[in-house]
Symmetry: C2
Subunit: 270 residues, 2 copies
């Protein structure tokens, strides 16, 4: 099954546009997990198992694993998701971007080694830096378009021939690069008006929207700006607000409550 | 010693502007290394030991290691360079780019886990995506500016207020982001006129120049466009033309000859 089909099924089956971001920071783990060799895997799988029926996707952020020499735990985590929750696609948040021959290696890393269903990619190096990922026909490629951080405007908000750079990225993606329907875009929830502009450009393309929760984005404005006619089209990511909703050994139950509240808040505006 | 000081010393001590890129592809290894568990480490350390007195830096490309679950060999390779060739800085070519909290994790990956002296970073997400690397005061941060691939023009060559996007990146880096002298830029050898424009903008800032050798860039034009008044300022990268100069068990000697020829060709135009 392709990423696109998996995502469409998960939107419907779980009645959810919520993407649960997995950014495991051991400094924030409950006390009983600290010091364990497999703490990252244990923490993340408990979150996954507690939220899988409420989510349309999981998004592990590779930097949190790489900083701690924990690639093996990331492999095991994604294998766990595929085995226990086979309907939920996994987006590896890696934001890779390099020339073609190197991008081929990154595609192997994301899709063969880690078995992700989709990967985030930086568009700064252009079309041939994106194509090696598209060569995996079942996989999704989520390009950075308008990011939720303050510095995102430094480049993305520059005027390029009557539009902003992020709009040009959306246009290139939709009109030239997405010949096989595998592409989605990252558009931050901190800028709902810009989500709406991107949606106008890209039609039904899936948008991955970080920035609600810890980063302060508004759920109602985000959903109204980004939903499609089918009231889908969005993967609204929440990471820290779910992962660290609880501080003690009941953290998974607390995460479930936070995920449910977020999913329901999103669904009120669909 | 800071990356900048290390680089200045290596330019002088080895009379070289050559950066040896380490993109190990086991499919291209000599037959006697194939099938060995530590083939990547063995291949790369032999190249390193054969070229260290001819190079101003080494640049391992992390994708080639990550695709093969070989982060341990990358750690061992960089430790080997620090131990055996302590004057030569190591640039981890990772092209990371993410929001601040995630960039902090990538900085730990590059500088603490892998012990690189510098890392390549993608500027698309702006200033706060770069700052966490600069928080390591001895380390270098090499930002993508004008890349050597065909698709590089898709975004980088767009007009933004009277200049191209890559020029704006150079200007932001030189005038706003480089408050501590840690920043360098990637500018491809396939566009010598653009190297000259970047040099005008950034003064003596170090430029990492990929694209000679396998990618076809011209050495004379590159050196003339990019050298500084001190006839330094450049790290001219060659990867495949050195790594795969020989096909048999004498590959390291062949790599040394290729490195020497490239260094000498560069030096003719300094």
């Amino acid at each position: 099954m392709t990423f696109t089909d998996q995502l469409a099924a998960a939107w419907q089956d779980n009645d959810s546009l919520l993407c649960v971001g997995l950014d495991p920071d051991p400094a924030k783990f409950p006390a009983h997990l600290k010091g364990r060799d497999d703490a990252i895997f244990e923490f993340c799988t408990a979150i996954v198992d507690a939220t899988a029926d409420l989510a349309c996707s999981f998004k592990p952020q590779i930097a949190y694993f790489a900083a701690r020499r924990a690639e093996d735990q990331l492999e095991a985590l994604i294998a766990h998701i595929h085995e226990k929750h086979p309907g939920i696609p996994v987006i590896l948040d890696a934001k890779r971007g390099d020339i073609g021959s190197t991008a081929e290696q990154y595609a192997v890393e994301a899709f063969e080694r880690f078995r992700a269903d989709a990967v985030t990619v930086n568009p700064y190096m252009g079309r041939d830096s994106v194509e090696p990922y598209l060569a995996f026909p079942d996989k999704g490629v989520i390009l950075l378009c308008r990011t939720s951080n303050a510095g995102g405007s430094d480049l993305q908000f520059l005027d390029v021939g009557g539009e902003k750079l992020y709009q040009r990225v959306a246009r290139l993606a939709a009109e030239q690069w997405n010949t096989s329907g595998q592409i989605g875009l990252v558009v931050g929830a901190t800028f709902p008006a810009e989500i709406a502009r991107v949606r106008q450009i890209v039609g039904d393309m899936p948008l991955l929207v970080p920035g609600i929760g810890a980063q302060g984005g508004d759920v109602e404005a985000t959903v109204n700006a980004g939903k499609t006619a089918k009231t889908t089209g969005l993967m609204i990511n929440s990471s820290r607000a779910i992962l660290y909703a609880g501080q003690d050994e009941n953290y998974a139950a607390a995460a479930r409550r936070a995920a449910q509240e977020t999913r329901d808040a999103i669904n009120r505006y669909r």
